[in-house]
Symmetry: C2
Subunit: 111 residues, 2 copies
DNA sequence: ATGAACGCTACTCATTAAGTAGCAGTTAAA
DNA sequence: TTTAACTGCTACTTAATGAGTAGCGTTCAT
């Protein structure tokens, strides 16, 4: 099996430069990637409970995303299920800041 | 025409809570959303040059993403083409921080 | 009036995700 | 020692989304 792994340093959808940010935007721009990362914020989750928290996302896709995130060393699968790696935790902090920001965005950007 | 607009306060793919972060993750998790926002970082771009910078993405999809981002008040279309709104600029700052972070991630997360 | 740029829209075809079923492995209790 | 409930998946079919290409109706400068 040849997996479509996202690896910084290698070309990526719509970019041949291999700049890390491109790899990252490609990875996170896939359906459910961001959401899955977000749902792990309070600690590891099993495959099935993560699936449930993502609104009963199809296991096919969830599994694909999890493999990609694992290949990217953002999550791993250990005791308690899927959880952040050290780098994943750093990325999650960025998401937490986005969460705070999104409140303001929601309050006054629309209407 | 009924557009699939992402609006904080309204339910979204895989979530019925309407939390702003859910709307945001859904919006940004669509293909080319993040990339398009990223490519506007140095100033407004025309539809066609934005398309070019995204690796000749199909105009159909680009247009859809741009409409969504416009509806979300993250970009607008004025002199010089598509550019950030005030909120869009704030979001872009988050992306800039991700860019900085991704360098470290690339350096020591893989191999 | 011609050409070049603009922002699109309309198609067809390919890829991706959704949705549902179920399997093989582990654990723990009866 | 089978039963039950969990685990992480995989295999399918169908639906939705994106890719790819052509070209239209503007505006602008020549």
């Amino acid at each position: 099996m040849t997996r479509k792994t996202i690896t910084p340093g290698r070309p990526v959808r719509g970019s041949t430069t291999g700049r890390p940010i491109m790899a990252l935007l490609d990875l996170l721009g896939r359906r459910w990637s961001l959401r899955a990362l977000w749902e792990l914020r309070d600690g590891p989750l099993t495959f099935r409970s993560l699936q449930e928290r993502c609104g009963d996302i199809s296991p096919t896709v969830l599994n694909r995303r999890l493999q990609e995130l694992r290949d990217a060393a953002l999550i791993d699968h250990g005791d308690g299920g899927y959880g952040y790696t050290a780098h994943g935790r750093e990325l999650a902090e960025h998401l937490a800041r986005l969460d705070a920001w999104s409140g303001r965005w929601a309050r006054d950007a629309l209407r």
